[in-house]
């Protein structure tokens, strides 16, 4: 009897202590997501009457040039973030894993953009990209390379790439830090054995280090991909500030919800983006599990 009572009291206590957090989580996460899902089947301006429209919003989304263009921009941004951002992070980690002077200073300065807010970064780079007095064009002009001067944020063919560069600059520090930490975990004996066997530096990197870094690289790529579909601030600030309409999915959702007064449609797009991100997260967690197994 005492044992049964103790079990009931323990469960009650656990529930009582979890209840506030569960309530908050349900109220601020679960219910809004559910609400958004339900709203995706409605037509609503954010005020006034709501009407049920079935899957019309979803059908329209796949025909909407603005959405398709935004998705393309997300992919371009993702391509640069993964191949250049992660690749650069790896390269820097390999360089910093040597005995070089002021190694710590380099690591800190490379990581520094990570601690700045995206809003600050957006405004900072808008100034750097200014075609008249921005640092980039001014530098090209100063070294006599006028042919490199461009309208970085005003040329519709360039702007998404200009903003992608900012994304790389911001995030390569994170990749560098993670790869660097992973490099410290590679047993030195393996590298030494390879040296004794006559392997060149390039062969050591290609045949030993890179394969061992593969699981962690997969994790970084998955995380980067998740962030690629969440990206909003730098596009909103940098593209919005010069009036150039360059959108990513998050800005399309924002504009539809708050500028065009199409809350239902915005909810439908956000449901699809959420689904995409979930898929990537599943891959991420599977890869994380694999990485843990490989490491152990």
């Amino acid at each position: 009897m005492k044992k049964a009572n103790f079990g009931r009291v323990k469960k009650t206590t656990i529930f009582v202590f979890l209840a506030p957090a569960l309530l908050l989580y349900t109220g601020f996460k679960v219910l809004p997501i559910l609400g958004s899902f339900i709203l995706s089947f409605m037509q609503w301006k954010g005020f006034g009457k709501i009407s049920f429209v079935g899957i019309t919003n979803y059908i329209n989304m796949f025909r909407d040039e603005m959405v398709l263009e935004a998705f393309k921009n997300n992919l371009i941004f993702g391509f640069f973030s993964i191949f250049l951002g992660v690749g650069l992070g790896l390269l820097l980690a390999l360089l910093l894993d040597r005995n070089i002077k002021a190694k710590n200073l380099f690591r800190v300065s490379i990581y520094l953009p990570q601690i700045l807010s995206m809003v600050v970064i957006g405004f900072l780079w808008t100034w750097l990209y200014n075609p008249y007095f921005g640092l980039i064009n001014s530098f090209f002009s100063a070294i006599g390379a006028d042919f490199l001067i461009r309208n970085w944020l005003g040329d519709s063919n360039l702007v998404v790439y200009s903003i992608s560069v900012v994304g790389i600059w911001r995030n390569y520090g994170f990749s560098m830090v993670v790869f660097y930490a992973a490099l410290q975990n590679i047993p030195q004996e393996i590298i030494d054995s390879a040296s004794i066997d006559g392997a060149t530096e390039f062969q050591k990197i290609r045949k030993i280090i890179l394969p061992l870094l593969k699981p962690i690289a997969a994790v970084i790529v998955a995380l980067t991909l998740i962030n690629v579909f969440r990206i909003f601030d730098i596009f909103y600030i940098m593209a919005g500030d010069t009036g150039r309409r360059v959108d990513v999915l998050a800005t399309v959702i924002f504009k539809n919800a708050f500028s065009y007064n199409k809350m239902g449609y915005a909810s439908a797009i956000s449901v699809v983006v959420c689904f995409l991100t979930m898929l990537i997260s599943i891959v991420y967690f599977k890869t994380l599990g694999q990485a843990s197994t490989d490491n152990s």
Binding site: V9, K45, G46, F47, G48, K49, T126, W127, Y129, N130, P131, Y132, N151, W152, L153, G154, D155, S156, G240, D241, T242, G243, R244, R245, K255, F258, S259, Y260, N261
Partner: protein
């Protein structure tokens, strides 16, 4: 023993809960003797709403059983207002920007003020432009909070130095721009094409007022969703002429709106077509930049066509409206009548270097005096084009104008086709 402890805890919690309800109910009874009006706007007490507390104080002295609670400087103001309207918690009196004001009125969320206008003879108290500004489907739903004219800011000192007069026609403007291009410090004769359409659409609006007026635009917005309006296409053609004649430098498309103000303030641009709401900020920027730039505005509009529908473009600014569901209608109307009186409005005009919606304003600043003349000459067709088109259409138009300015191969018809597509 443990069960008893839980029982006591539950009883104490219930007691505290009941007591708080009882006291809250007591307070509510006291409050009912005085009617409280809730008034909100994006203006903070540190800026445009600085005089509001003293105005409220004066009103409450005359009306001791009405209390006005003002809340301003709210972040994400329009989103919060929409949320309040959606859940039936609308404030009694609130400000909204014109494109939202129109939607709110069409959705039946605003109190019809037409009778109020007639009763108080507001038709003659306010500038004619603002009457159109606050009209939706031939009924009046708001009162303008302030007014602005679209003017041609220019650098008086540079013009004097070069011995050039203000432009009155398109041809004169091209001639002036040709001379300005040769000045080494000038990056672009006319600063335009900037953030979220503020610059390029404003300039386009100054042209469309002359080529088409607002009527066809309203019809396109509300009925046809077709922006292939001859007057609009003509306006974009004139915009293209400005670019082809070197009045607007292609690189200016990569410059943000604050940077364009800075370019004008530091003498890198000589002409800046923009609204008078920017006047105060522009003066401060020029003073801080400490350059040779002296701020002036053209005395008259630049005529782009021989027979303009109306020479000027202007707007009525933010709109004060009363919620349709207000439970304090009489009190809110009373306060609005007090607030919109000429005497109170003049207090606001003198505090800020800005233009007010009332007629017969007493403006001291010589530049704003000129702008006021233009505002008074504005007709109902002059209302600012940018505020009468949906956001998506504005973005499509702006993207087209940016492409045009940066030298892409795009025709005025293509731009209006894209705008029409965005409207559907």
């Amino acid at each position: 023993m443990k069960k008893r402890k839980w029982d006591i805890l539950v009883l104490v919690a219930l007691f505290i809960f009941s007591a708080s309800i009882a006291f809250a109910g007591g307070e509510q009874e006291k409050k009912d003797e005085v009617t409280t009006i809730r008034w909100i706007s994006p203006w903070s007490l540190a800026t445009k709403a600085e005089q509001f507390p003293s105005i409220i104080e004066d009103f409450e002295k005359e009306n001791p059983n009405i209390k006005v609670e003002y809340e301003g400087g709210i972040t994400n103001y329009m989103e919060l207002l929409k949320a309040d309207l959606a859940v039936g918690n609308a404030p009694d009196l609130f400000g909204s920007f014109h494109m939202y004001f129109t939607e709110f009125a069409k959705d039946g969320l605003l109190y019809d003020m037409t009778d109020l206008y007639n009763k108080n003879d507001w038709q003659s108290q306010f500038l004619p432009l603002t009457i159109e500004w606050n009209t939706v489907n031939e009924r009046l739903y708001g009162v303008s909070a302030l007014c602005f004219a679209l003017v041609w800011y220019y650098d008086v000192n540079l013009f004097d130095e070069l011995g050039i007069d203000q432009a009155k026609t398109k041809a004169e403007l091209f001639e002036i721009c040709n001379k300005l291009k040769n000045v080494p410090s000038i990056q672009t004769p006319i600063a335009s094409t900037s953030s979220a359409g503020a610059g390029s659409i404003s300039l386009l609006g100054m042209i469309t007022a002359q080529t088409t007026g607002i009527g066809p635009v309203i019809q396109a917005r509300d009925e046809t969703k077709d922006y292939m309006i001859p007057g609009l296409i003509k306006a974009v053609e004139i915009y293209k002429e400005l670019i082809d004649n070197g009045c607007i430098d292609p690189m200016v498309t990569g410059v943000s709106h604050p940077s364009q103000v800075s370019m004008f303030a530091t003498g890198q641009a000589a002409i800046y077509p923009m609204h008078t709401g920017l006047f105060d900020g522009m003066k401060k920027t020029i003073d801080e930049a400490d350059t040779k730039v002296k701020l002036g505005i053209f005395d008259t509009a630049v005529n782009f066509v021989d027979d303009p529908i109306t020479p000027y473009s202007a707007g009525g600014g933010m709109v004060w409206s009363i919620s349709k569901d207000t439970k304090n209608l009489d009190e809110t109307v009373k306060f609005l009548e007090f607030f919109t009186s000429t005497e109170v409005q003049r207090r606001l005009t003198h505090q800020f270097v800005t233009l007010d919606p009332i007629a017969n304003q007493e403006i001291e600043d010589p530049i704003l005096k000129k702008a006021l003349l233009q505002l008074e000459a504005a007709t109902s067709d002059s209302v600012m084009f940018i505020d009468y088109i949906p956001s998506k259409v504005m973005e499509a138009l702006n993207a087209g104008l940016l492409d045009l300015t940066s030298g892409k191969s795009i025709s005025p018809e293509d731009i209006m086709k894209a705008a029409t597509k965005a409207a559907k």
